[in-house]
């Protein structure tokens, strides 16, 4: 609608600018992330190595260890940011987030199932991990939608959040039950995963995550018009000509795919899906064609920074990125909650 009111162009220009700036910031934090670790490589040498130069040692550290991890972090950050934005639009609830709504608990269950069946996290079976977490996420989503559905009112927002909390607790109990039956190493891995530790650090992990993001993210970006319409309310959306039920189902599936695939490699990280869209909305306004790409970039920045902080600040041990995100994100969420009517 704003496109017809004149300010649309100004908004568009601003959105482009914001995207450019955020892309610049993302680039900087990525280079900083590549530079940080037990073996430090100066930023300029990082760039040099990336474009073919550098010593053999630099190349090995960068291409074999740092780069795949950063790729996973970037993809997961973008996926989580976009998933949160889509969920908030669908539920017309500014507090919606894949983690709060219990999708991550479903993904966690999927991961524990995978671990107990395959046990091999490095080989080609790693490609299947996102499929397992996606299945878990879908199960959680179906449960939550069924529980919050009302024949006359559709999905009732308050029930969505309450059943999300309940489903999350139930699935976590099952996950805990399963993970306690695993051997010690696998249990330790699961515990770290649950806390939101970016564990995908091989190229195969990046490869497992990549198709989910490069297929689903463009689809979501192409649906910004539907998201705009849906966020106006069901009746208005139907009036404009949106097939509300079908679009909501498709977009919900896409959001589950994005978040489940992301957490499969980056661990059960909450709050990015909540914060990123909020910041994006403050920066570029509520139109999804602007909001969605900005939310992706914000997600990337948050996750790369959190992972780098968690890795470097607490050496020799590492703090999972999810803990860093929660320590920053939860107070922000509570702040928002105390401000919203």
């Amino acid at each position: 609608m704003s496109r017809s009111i004149g300010t649309g162009d100004a908004r568009k220009t601003k959105a482009w600018l914001v995207c450019l700036v955020l892309a610049g910031i993302s680039f900087v934090v990525i280079v900083l992330g590549l530079n940080t670790g037990t073996i430090r490589i100066p930023p300029l040498r990082v760039l040099d190595t990336l474009f073919g130069g550098g010593s053999g040692r630099d190349q090995m550290v960068l291409f074999e260890y740092r780069l795949p991890r950063i790729v996973v972090t970037v993809l997961a950050g973008a996926g989580l940011g976009a998933a949160g934005a889509v969920m908030q639009g669908l539920s017309r609830n500014a507090l919606a987030d894949p983690g709060v709504l219990g999708l991550h608990a479903g993904a966690a269950l999927g991961l524990v199932m995978f671990v107990s069946f395959f046990r091999d996290l490095e080989g080609s079976s790693a490609l299947l991990i996102p499929l397992f977490t996606f299945t878990g996420g879908i199960v959680a989503a179906v449960l939550i939608v069924l529980l919050s559905y009302n024949r006359s009112r559709g999905i009732v927002p308050v029930r969505l959040i309450l059943s999300g909390i309940g489903v999350a607790s139930g699935l976590s109990a099952i996950t805990l039950y399963w993970s306690l039956r695993l051997d010690e190493d696998t249990y330790a891995f699961t515990a770290r995963w649950l806390a939101g530790s970016v564990w995908g650090r091989d190229w195969v992990h990046a490869a497992a995550l990549l198709p989910w993001i490069i297929i689903v993210l463009p689809y979501v970006l192409s649906q910004t018009r539907s998201l705009n319409n849906l966020s106006l309310g069901d009746e208005t959306a139907a009036g404009i000509g949106t097939n509300v039920k079908r679009q909501r189902l498709l977009l919900l599936g896409a959001a589950v795919a994005l978040s489940s695939a992301s957490v499969s490699m980056a661990g059960g990280i909450g709050f990015i899906g909540l914060i990123a869209p909020h910041l994006a909305r403050r920066l570029v306004g509520p139109m999804y064609q602007h909001l969605l790409p900005v939310a992706c970039f914000v997600g990337v920045v948050i996750l790369v920074v959190s992972d780098t902080i968690g890795r470097s600040l607490f050496q020799p041990n590492a703090i999972p990125a999810g803990v860093v995100v929660a320590v920053v994100g939860a107070p922000y969420f509570l702040f928002l909650l105390s401000r919203t009517k």
Binding site: L95, L147, I161, S163, Y177, S197, V327, L334, L337
Partner: protein, 361 residues
Amino acid sequence: MRLKGRTDEHAVSSEGTASDASSLTRPMLRAGRIRQILLFIASAVLLALSMFAAISLGAKDLTLSTVWAAVFHYDRSLMTHQIIHELRLPRVLGAAVIGAALAVAGSLIQGITRNPLGDTGVLGINAGAMFVVAVSFAFFPNLPYGTLIVLSFLGALMSTLLVFGLGASAPGGLTPMRLTVSGAVTAALLGSMTSGIAIYFDLSQDLAFWYAGGVAGIKWSQLEILAPILLIVIVWSMGLARSISLISMGDEVALNLGINLKRIRLLGLLTVVVLAGLSVSAAGAISFVGLVIPHIARKLIGVDYRQIVPLSALLGAVLLVLADLGARMANPPEELAIGIMVSFIGVPFFLFLARKERRDL
């Protein structure tokens, strides 16, 4: 519409608020009174039976007469008596006291906030206690149990202040919905920080049972501190129950009857914090006991908290004793975490209640 919303605010599970309200002021019908007395007797018998079952069943099954003898005529030279006296008895008594404490805490919270989904786990109170316990494990690993209790209580107090302060400072005030969400997020934050500490200091093993909850490790020395305080506080909450019944019917009703709302709310919350903090210090974070039991009690006995609180105490004790027994028996010789056992019972119930939630954000 608004008025109706007020009266049925907490009575999601009980129909006919008007008649319930009058049952507080009008003399009880004789039949109702007898039914109540029978309910209490039945619950007490159930508790006694489940405690006896929990003492006699286990890795070594013991006969009823041995259990009886071990409890009432303890003979130190007998192995079976020692098993019962040193291992089973503190465990079962601990489960009973903690179950009662959690259930009473839940019923008080539900009454004070008029929120049928209130629970010390859901509202992040347990997570606060957990967090402080984790911190003290990391930095002061050899604290005596008494100090740990105090710290755990302070942690519960901290998160309670946070959740209720945030909820109350928002425009529109402390709605049940906002309380639930800010509680869940606070629980997530503190839980995340707890696991961060556990991972960083390599405490996962030590903290595992705090996470999942368990009464296996309770010793007589702990029970001697814990049980008297909890029992006194439970009795004290029965004294609060009359005022809480009135609060649960709405602010106007309570004000008209001359209740000091702020004072009762504060006292009630403090009571909840003591109950939750002590329980967590002994058994870890056990969610859903405080959610499920008061609902069952309310279904059985009506909306008067003078009856809900004591019945919750009895039934909470039964649930935790049985859950602990189930956790021991499910897959011997391994023990299942008691929190999982309780969740498997509690979560479907929570979802059923959330399904009936009619209010909006």
